[in-house]
Every structure is written in structure tokens, then in C-alpha cells.
Amino acid sequence: MSRRPRARRPPVRVRGLSVWLIALLVALVATIQIRSQAEVERSLVGVDTTSLAFLIDDLHSANDALASQKADLISLRATLQSGQSGAADQVLTDEAQRLRAIDGLIPVQGPGIVMEVDARGLTALDLQDALNNFMAARAEAIDVNDHRVVTGVAVEQDGGNVTIGGAVVSPPWTISVIGDPVKLAEVADLMTQQLLADRRVRAAGYRTENDIVISSVISEKPFVYAIPS
């Protein structure tokens, strides 16, 4: 009768090492779990429920805009993948024209609002804030007193004057904005109320228009320092 071979037990040192390994793994996983949750929530600590509700609303709008952009890009990709004769040329021609409009390099038209502000003592910061408010309402093209403005065009204070791209822009300011007229009107309405409460402002108002023509353009500047990666 053969004896059943005894299972070889690992030496004590190996067993000790295994226990340490298990303990280390448990601690590691637990720490990562707890810290990752804490990390995510840290950025929101102290934010009140009203702000969180606004944040949710903003994120919903942002995600809708991103989904719409994604749908456009998917359609563009499908056109290019179709391999039809001239498809790429048409896509590139349309894209060039769209980008020229975004970069402010060509005259454009479309629906939007026209705001007029007559004031003494408003500064470049006031104008920058007004333009940013319209940009946040998804403005697609902006002109102030026949000067095209996109983010990146310098709006500066030069003594008592406000300049756009180096040119003095004296009040009254006529701000023409192309985009969704409903969204833009909401912003213009709020801004008008704020401006009318400002003692420096003599008059402020806006109107929506179905077809605003913006003829001003920005001259294209070549890159001197920036190189495509």
C-alpha cells in the first residue's frame, strides 16, 4: 500500500510573504477606491445645491452642443468615405468657407441682434465682458462699430479710449451679433437692464433682426512663433 504523498507546504518565509502581499493588496485597493471617490467629490465640495443645479443645466446644454457637433462630423466622415468623385473637394471647399467665417476673414450674414449703447466712461473691460456674454450665448459673428471681433482680437484701453485691434472705437457702440436670435435676445435683455442701471450709460437697447450683414473682416496674421505639432 502506497502512502499518499503529503502536500508540500511552502516554507514559513514564503507564507509570511503571501500574508504581507494579501494585506498590501487589500490596503491598496481600499485606498484607491476611497481616494478616487474623494478626488471626484473634492471639486464639488462646498458648492451649494443651486449652483449644482445651474451646473447640471450648463452641462446638459454643453453636451447637446457636443452631440450636435459630433453628428456633423460623422456625416462629414461618411461623405469622405463614400469616395464619390469630387466629394473631398466639396467637403474641403465648404470647410474652408466655414472656417473663414469663424476666423472672421470674410463678410457674413444671418439672424441675430443689434445692440446700441451710448455711454461715457465705459472701459475696454466693459466691452470685453459684453462680447464674452454674447460669445457664451453661442454668437457666431460679432461686429462693433464696423470692427470685426473674435476671441483673440485685442480689446484694449488706451487712455480714455477703447480700441479694437488697435483702432479707437468711440461711443455710441453698435454691437451686431449673428447667432440664435432667441438666445442672444435673452442675453441682450439682461445686459440692457444692467446697463440702464449704470450711471455712465445714457441709453441702451437692442432689436432682433432676421438678416444682419457684417461686412468688416480681420486680416489674417501668419504664425511667427507657433508651429503645428
Partner: protein, 238 residues
């Protein structure tokens, strides 16, 4: 072989125990109140939306890369297409749709400390106007490409937010510390940032709340391509 399996089982058990332990600890930390539950639900919604937001932006970046590759293929077959593609590439670079690098400045804005007076509000927090002011200053000094904490500024970019949150375009909100990278004439940009009369709002709060503003010129910095929406559905060329 069996020893290897044994080790794998031990590791699996350890990981499972870790998860259970962490879940228990988190559950213990929660205060059983409706208010907390509501707050947690809101926070969860924000987290889910932020995760979806990051996913959408990643997909937009991927789609733009795929379109670029398809255009490149088409351009290789036709000189006309190649000429058109060169034009579009340049326009895309100006629109912030191309990653760039070059000399420039790196600016860091960091929250200060709350004032001893409880009524001093949130002045110690970096807000979107601070970021907007720095970006405008850099563009005014000839910056050719700017990114805020990895978010590329485009001709249609807007800044918004509340209480120390900085939202740029359709991205999820950023918080302090905020890093602003700008490619351009670094000496000119550094001189403007050094000018005590520039950024009056930030400088006043540097004194009052120890808000941090630091910057340095660097020989080579990189800014990514925009992953936001650049749709202009209402505009037509006239």
C-alpha cells in the same frame, strides 16, 4: 501551475475584500439625511454629465483626426485637393483646431486664502473673469495660440462660471490651479504680465487674499487642438 492558480485566487480575494471594505467605509461616512441624499444625487448627476462630456469631446477629437486622415488620402490623389487641403489646414490652425508648439509663457493662477472677515465672499477664489483677463492680455500681446488647463481657445471661445468654477466653451468646469499656456513673443508677454498696471482685479486680490499669479517664459510649450464644438449654423457668407 497550481501554485500560480493559488496566487491568482488569493489576489482576486484580496481585491474583492478591498472593494467590500471600501464600500463599507464609504457607507459608514454618509450621514443618513434627506438633504445629504439630495445633495449626493445632484453631485452624482454632475459626475455623470461630466463623464459624458469628456467622452463626447474625446469622440470629437477622434472624428476630426479621422476626417483629417481621409482628406490626406484624397489629397494624395489630386493636386487640386492638395491645394484645398493646404488652405484648410492653415484656416484650421487659426481656428484652434490644430495642436501647436513654440516659445511662450506659462501662467499659473491659484486660489488664495479666505479673508478673516466672513463677509469677504469668494474673492480668494480664481474666477472666470481672472482667466478671461489673462487670456485677453496675452492675445493683446500677440499670443498666437492659447490653452487654459489643456482647453484650447478658439475664435468663438467664451468664459463663464460661478464661485471658483471656470467653464470654457462646452468643457466641464475647471478649478484652481489654472494653467494658461500661450505661444508667442515670450519677452513681450512676460513684460505685460510684469507690468503693475495690468490685471488690476487679480493684483488687488493678490494683496487682499494672497491670490497666486505666477508666470515664466519657456522656450517650447505645447497647446492641444480644440475638442469643442465649432458649429456656426446661423452664419452664411455674404
Amino acid at each position: 501551475m497550481s501554485r500560480l492558480a493559488g496566487v491568482a485566487v488569493v489576489a482576486l480575494v484580496a481585491v474583492a475584500v478591498g472593494f467590500v471594505l471600501a464600500g463599507q467605509v464609504k457607507a459608514q461616512l454618509l450621514t443618513p439625511s434627506n438633504q445629504v441624499a439630495r445633495y449626493q444625487a445632484l453631485v452624482r448627476s454632475v459626475q455623470e454629465l461630466e463623464s459624458a462630456n469628456a467622452g463626447e469631446r474625446r469622440q470629437i477629437a477622434d472624428l476630426r483626426a479621422q476626417i483629417d486622415a481621409l482628406e490626406s488620402d484624397a489629397a494624395a490623389r489630386s493636386a487640386t485637393t492638395q491645394a484645398l487641403r493646404n488652405q484648410v489646414s492653415d484656416l484650421r490652425a487659426h481656428a484652434g483646431l490644430v495642436a501647436m508648439h513654440g516659445p511662450g509663457v506659462e501662467v499659473i493662477l491659484r486660489d488664495g486664502a479666505p479673508g478673516p472677515d466672513s463677509g469677504s465672499g469668494t474673492g480668494y477664489l480664481v474666477n472666470f473673469e481672472d482667466v478671461q483677463d489673462v487670456v485677453n492680455l496675452l492675445f493683446a500681446q500677440g499670443a498666437e495660440a492659447v490653452a487654459v488647463s489643456g482647453r484650447r481657445i478658439t475664435p468663438l471661445s467664451a468664459f463663464s462660471g460661478s464661485e471658483g468654477q471656470i467653464a470654457i466653451d462646452q468643457g466641464q468646469p475647471l478649478a484652481s490651479p489654472v494653467k494658461i499656456d500661450a505661444i508667442g513673443d515670450r519677452n513681450r508677454m512676460v513684460a505685460a504680465l510684469d507690468d503693475p498696471s495690468s490685471l488690476p482685479g487679480v493684483r488687488a486680490r493678490q494683496v487682499q487674499f494672497s491670490l497666486h499669479l505666477t508666470f515664466e517664459g519657456l522656450p517650447d510649450i505645447s497647446v492641444p487642438a480644440s475638442d469643442s464644438s465649432l458649429q456656426v449654423p446661423h452664419v452664411t457668407s455674404s
